[in-house]
Symmetry: C2
Subunit: 115 residues, 2 copies
DNA sequence: CAACTATATTCGTCAAAACGAATATAGTCA
DNA sequence: TGACTATATTCGTTTTGACGAATATAGTTG
């Protein structure tokens, strides 16, 4: 079970918050979708995802070449609620709106076969 | 109005989270009470309070020699809810319990005359 | 006014963490 | 098998931010 300090460490970086806001809205996204949405280099995105995976904020599944990240399903209720409210708070910021817009317009998004 | 990035910066340090959790529970506390509760040197506590004051997470009033901090009353609803849930999440951690216990047992707490 | 108390700030140092570039790994498909 | 794709990791550097120690400020009280 994640503890509060690890959880808030995950929230302490803007790149990670951008990733989390997308994942709260979309339930599951692969690395290439996240890179495209944030318009950031893949190693940078992977590094931030790794931080959150290792601290238990995110969980992962593989499907072929693609790795899908989601908010960890065993997060305690208070943590879920914070992520949800974070979405509300960030919705007003242009940068977060751009992320969602790019994701929506991304061409050739990988197709989940057996989610 | 505070923006989400400034708000989450405030939450990114454990000392600041300890201060916030006390303030969420007690509505208004002076610097010496916070120093005593956290058992930390006054300049360290003041510096962290300043970070949160400058970003709009806390507001301040003076009463004689004492300066009372509180959660900023104009915080947006999502931010209040996050602070509230943070209290839930941190309640399980020993260090936060110790803070509240010391505060409760503090001798000679300053008396508010005209809150 | 001087002494005192509560709080704030400055400064130099140090450590954590984010970064870009390069490379490694792992799965797929011909 | 080798080429290719998606993702992960390593490494050296740089930036950010927390820190302790010292000092400044501001209000109170004699």
């Amino acid at each position: 079970m994640i503890n509060a300090n690890d959880f808030f460490d995950a929230l302490s970086d803007e790149t990670r918050r951008r990733l989390l806001v997308l994942l709260v809205g979309d339930d599951e996204l692969c690395v290439c979708e996240l890179c495209y949405a944030l318009d950031l280099p893949q190693p940078k995105v992977s590094r931030h995802l790794a931080v959150m995976r290792e601290s238990g904020v995110l969980s992962v599944r593989r499907e072929g070449l693609w790795i899908y990240y989601r908010i960890h399903p065993l997060l305690p209720a208070w943590a879920y609620r914070i992520l949800d409210q974070m979405g509300q708070g960030c919705a007003a910021l242009e940068i977060f709106q751009g992320d969602r817009k790019r994701l929506k317009e991304m061409p050739n998004r990988p197709v989940r076969c057996c989610a």
